[in-house]
Assembly symmetry: C2
Homo-oligomer: 278 residues x 2
């Protein structure tokens, strides 16, 4: 157990996955920044109220308003405290600094969490660079130091994420639900046993294999695995494992030595044949 030095535990944020299912989120503003906020909030299954004069709408904001009935749109400016009634969260992205601060003060009186774009002291929380693949969500925050570097690091992470990570997580979630139906109950010894078995499956199978699980294979995995306190291999539940077929990335890894080998053959042949002619 590494013991952290408490002096180094500072200057950060508390990273959270906020739950908004069925909650009401007010977004004030409809420009570029607001369109990004709308997308993030839709992902979290919130009801959105969007307040912004229609002449300031970004094309993407317009698209969202037209494409989904999860946004109640009001073509006007923020009107005052009545707009905050029943709201669980407020996000503003308007150019008017004074108005932004006024909205922030109203929210703080009402204990409604708020983010005011570009005014850190008026933010109860910040956003970061994001990656999403099904149920997998990743946030990269530089704590306001450099959004550009956050973006560059996001791209680097995207490249190295295992293929099908999102699908694998989805399938593991389904398997866990099936397991809970088969062995129900909260907490206790059974809960621990369930958790241990799920961990064993996750660590002994490749992500690529987990991603391919279907209903029938999951049932086999539970019949021959959970019931017998074992973890069958992918092929034991009828999976044609892609992890034994070379992937493009493993082929790419073979290219440099192959290239080196051929260069070595060519050069040596050339050299030796030249020598023979002397």
């Amino acid at each position: 157990m590494p013991i952290p030095n408490t002096d180094s535990l500072t200057a950060g944020s508390l990273l959270l996955a906020w739950q908004l299912k069925g909650k009401n989120v007010l977004i004030v503003g409809g420009g570029d920044v607001a369109s990004g906020r709308i997308e993030s909030v839709l992902v979290a299954d919130a009801h959105i109220t969007l307040i912004s004069p229609s002449n300031g709408l970004h094309p993407l904001t317009k698209h969202f308003i037209d494409a989904t009935d999860r946004i109640a749109y009001h073509d006007r400016a923020f009107a005052g405290p009545s707009d905050l009634e029943g709201m669980d969260m407020v996000l503003t992205a308007i150019d008017d600094v004074e108005e932004s601060r006024r909205i922030c003060a109203l929210c703080r009186e009402r204990k409604i969490p708020i983010n005011v774009a570009d005014i850190p002291p008026s933010c109860d929380f910040y956003f970061g660079s994001q990656i999403r693949s099904g149920p997998l969500q990743i946030m990269i925050s530089t704590n306001g130091q450099s959004p550009k570097l956050a973006n560059l690091i996001r791209k680097r992470i995207e490249k190295c994420l295992p293929d099908h990570a999102g699908e694998a997580i989805e399938k593991v979630g389904e398997l866990r639900t099936k397991l809970r139906e088969r062995a129900p109950g909260v907490g206790g010894e059974l809960g621990k046993k369930r958790m241990r078995w799920m961990v064993d499956v996750c660590t002994s199978w490749d992500l690529e294999d987990l991603a391919l699980l279907n209903d029938e294979m999951m049932n086999k995995l539970l019949d021959n695995g959970w019931e017998k306190n074992a973890v069958p291999k992918p092929e034991d539940v009828g999976l044609q494992s892609p992890s034994v077929i070379p992937s493009w990335s493993s082929l790419k890894a073979l290219l440099p030595p192959t290239f080196g080998f051929l260069t070595g053959v060519a050069l040596t042949t050339g050299l030796l044949l030249t020598r023979r002619r002397h």
Copy 2:
């Protein structure tokens, strides 16, 4: 601009970097899970009130209580509403499901955001797997589907993170502060020019070089760069760039072709020399 299909925007969370500097966080419970919460909340510079009978304290929790005066510790069980006075956030990690739900209800009446370990419906937010390197913080969430896979993916990301990413972000933050002192003002054309120049520096320098910036180099970068609307190279501000010295990772990349080359030379030599003897 890729237009997202709104139907696919669902079933996630809103990932946030919550700001807790100077705020009050109540943690109920002192076991394994609580010790992790304490660490995360200390990072965010909050004042912690910890309530837990001392016989249930995890060694790491004990360490935190002893090592910092940022935790007010009370050796007892949760006493009721009076414990919630002045709290900005509450985290519980106790085994008593009924008591947990009672605390949750009290918090919701008071609009205090709460996380109850292991009881998702009693959580306003979830935690995820985390990476931290200075001002860089990364969270991996599987939206409750598979904490184990979140952990495996975290390890994969840790391996592929660029060296010194945290230091680079720190230095870029300092550079931005210096630039703001030199060219002060909020928003407008100057704000945009500042942002563009910072983006240019971040994209044209390697992270490894950014991480090595010192005070003197930053001043040179501003004198010869910002003032002249240019982006000097690392060597122009006196940096012995490590990005031109081959790093271990670039040497590793050279190993396979070199190995292939030598194998090619050896095999061909052997073959041709054998042929000559016939």
